[in-house]
């Protein structure tokens, strides 16, 4: 029977080409707008490290003076001083812990002869961190590995570089042991990472970096970077201090991350952090005991990482889809009621109302599916537009298999929902008056 209905629906849709095209385009535009914005929203609000879901936490303490609040509602400042960050990292109370800051690293290509003269230095996004950064965030390595805790201690001039930088500087070969010149100092390469760019770039929050886009190019031990005079992107001072001596300055500039596997470990770490604040108060360094220990996902939500514009666009797209669906319902209904005569004849010849309903739902479903195909075209068009926008996340906007399937079922569902009302109106047509009128 379904085959026959599909045949009938095809005939009916073909016989009103303009109306059919209008319905398909309307649904296609609505579905396309929705899936485009949903794809972007999903990309932006994704979990940057799914394999460490729920295990990464961001501690905060409050070193601000008594007469100055770090933030509204007595919240601790978003980032830490060197003293606090180092105290927390060296206490080793979590499975992994690392202090992180961002730098703009000037990289000098090392060509030879005439090549060297024409090559200009360039800036690469850099991370300065302690050794656990790589193991905690599961950074994949192509060659070598991260540096050791001893390198942190000795402020060893070592560096890890990203695959992309390795290709640019060393033609992609195994560059372990070679030298890279960063900010006019020499560093020995100990590791080359594979492509690694978590989205959002969660560890960059509050540190003065962008939230999406390419991965970092250069990784240097925190101590070595300070010894080489690198200055972090974000420095917030809460008292008069010398910014050139960041180890002792009353300035916050480091983010600390810890890995805690179980709820018990989280409770224990929270207690440890509370005790640490109390201890610092008794030492006279702190004036407030406020602390925070926030899970990665919550931290990203708190920081409003996903731009509000993207969420607004999603709402708008759904509003638009609703207009499109109501419009499609209207057009389907008009078409249905125009065929009252035909329905009357079929009913008189013995078709049950159930069969009429199925027939019209098949027709609506077909409109939905074809609309969905149009939607897919519009989605690709929309994502292409987004890729050509100057936004940080522009390059990420691609349709993945999951969203492709979502589009398909979504559009079929939209078509069927749009079809219910007209099909119902069609099946309640009573045969007698129609036959009389005809």
């Amino acid at each position: 029977m379904i085959g026959y209905y599909i045949n009938l629906a095809g005939r009916s849709l073909r016989s009103h080409k303009v109306l059919t095209a209008l319905m398909v385009m309307t649904l296609g535009l609505g579905i396309g707008a929705c899936i485009t914005t949903l794809t972007v929203l999903k990309l932006l609000s994704g979990d940057p490290l799914p394999e460490k879901n729920g295990q990464l936490f961001y501690p905060q303490v409050d070193p601000f003076p008594a007469d100055r609040l770090a933030a509204a509602h007595n919240k601790p400042p978003p980032i830490m001083t060197y003293t606090d960050a180092m105290n927390l990292v060296s206490a080793r109370k979590a499975r992994h812990q690392a202090a992180v800051a961002l730098v703009s690293a000037k990289v000098m290509p090392q060509g030879t002869g005439a090549q060297a003269l024409t090559q200009r230095p360039f800036f690469s996004d850099g991370v300065i961190a302690t050794a656990d950064f790589f193991s905690m965030f599961d950074v994949p390595f192509k060659y070598g590995s991260g540096w050791s805790a001893a390198d942190d201690q000795n402020r060893a001039p070592v560096a890890v570089i990203a695959d992309t930088l390795n290709n640019r500087l060393f033609g992609g070969g195994d560059s372990i042991g070679r030298t890279i010149r960063i900010n006019d100092r020499d560093f020995r390469i100990v590791g080359v990472t594979k492509a690694w760019a978590p989205q959002p770039r969660f560890y960059a929050q509050e540190l003065g970096g962008r939230s999406y886009g390419d991965g970092d190019g250069v990784f240097v031990p925190l101590g070595s970077a300070l010894a080489a005079g690198m200055s972090p992107q974000q420095v917030n001072c809460f008292a008069d201090s010398d910014v050139s001596k960041l180890e002792t300055a009353s300035c916050t500039w480091l983010g600390v991350w810890v890995e805690l596997g179980t709820p018990d470990e989280v409770t224990a770490y929270r207690d440890f952090l509370g005790n640490y604040a109390q201890q610092q108060i008794s030492l006279g360094r702190f004036h407030r005991s406020t602390i925070a220990l926030t899970e990665l996902g919550q931290w990203l939500r708190d920081k409003h990482v996903v731009p509000d514009d993207v969420r607004l666009q999603t709402w708008l797209a759904f509003g638009f889809l609703l207009v499109c669906v109501v419009n499609a319902v209207g057009l389907l209904l008009a078409k249905c009621l125009r065929r009252s005569n035909e329905i009357g004849v079929r009913r008189a010849l013995g078709a049950t109302w159930r069969e009429i309903f199925t027939q019209f739902m098949v027709e609506a479903g077909m409109v939905g599916l074809v609309g969905g195909l149009m939607g897919l075209v519009f989605t690709e068009l929309g994502l292409w537009c987004i890729r050509n926008q100057p936004a940080q996340y522009a390059g990420l906007a691609h349709l993945d298999l999951e969203m492709f399937l979502v589009t398909f079922f979504f559009s079929a569902a939209v078509g069927l929902i749009a079809g219910v009302l007209p099909a119902w109106r069609a099946c309640v047509v009573s045969p007698a008056p129609q036959l009389k009128a005809a």
Partner: protein, 405 residues
Amino acid sequence: MEIIPILSSLRKHRIPSLLIVLEIALACAVLCNAMFMISQRIDDLRLSNGMDESGVSVITVEGTAPDQAANAIPRDLAALRAIPGVQAVALTNSLPLTDNAWENGFSPRPGEQHPVNTSAYFLTQSGDRTLGLKLLRGRLFSDDEYANGKLSSNFTAVGHVVVITQSYAARMWPALDALGQTLYSASGDSYQVVGIVADVIAPSLNINTGNRNGAYWCAFFPMAPVDGLNNFVVRSAPGDRDRIIREATQALATMEPAAVVKGRTFTAIRDAYFAGISNMIWMLSLVCAVMLVVTAFGIVGLSSFWVRQRRRQIGVRRALGACRMQILGYFQTENFLLTTIGVLVGMGLAYAANNYLFEHYEMSRMPWFYLPASAVAMWVLGQLSVLGPAISASSVAPIVAMRSN
């Protein structure tokens, strides 16, 4: 007059009427909010800036050795001045809309708990002239003040004078004359306000907050050419900018082989900063336009079905003496009634949606006039889209009534 028969006829066609009402209501709600978002973003694009935007170019030199600054900077400045067409050259720490924020906390009285976050611009000699600042009251800096200005170890200005923007003056001393007042930093330094200039935009607007209060809270400090100021500002005639940038980057790159040198016009900086916003405006406008077209087609579709269904009724009316204009008027009035109901529901929806967005996102409250404005838009749209079907209805010949169908 005709309202009563129209209403009783609509009651017979509940579902198509409801669909038109619903479509108008949804379109009205989305249109209101989208138009409001567009207008907010247009305000951002038009943010005025009290400097010579079209004459200023910036050459950024980063990654030079700090200890060589004392020798290198005067040499670089001289090289830039020597380029033909350059009217003035100065150094600054940052420029509007470059996202390179140097923020200091200042208060109008000493020792306040919540200092006002202020964007600090450090300018070297003739910086005011190079940027084209518009002095409103007081004076700009003297040569001595420029020569004695230094950068402290925590990146604040060593000196005693400051020039502030108009909006910042109003923020700090709402009831007093700002000229001659003293600005206090958190670390205990104080600066006397010697001049007030037209509003200059800060290096970074908090783009997501929709709150533009702090956009103009800027203070200018005089400074000798010191390390840490790595933006060379060059003023020229707009037509000379591209050539000057080319020559300047070349000259500086040759003199500073270890540095990364980048030149841009200020216009390019501004365009890049607002590129996302102008894209959003285009996107929103496109959605609005497509939505209106879709709604119009929906109305056309339903109304033509309607007209066809009532051909007999129209024929009878025509045969009984109704003229074409009356038939036309009937369908126009009917559409007007439906649109009015839709618009009333839509205004409620629009208000509710705005309220939701206001509470959950950084969006301001919609001014009331968006509601009547989009209502008018919907009326016009409704009347125009029903015009076609109504005309075809009015051309139904009276003879139709005589036939069986």
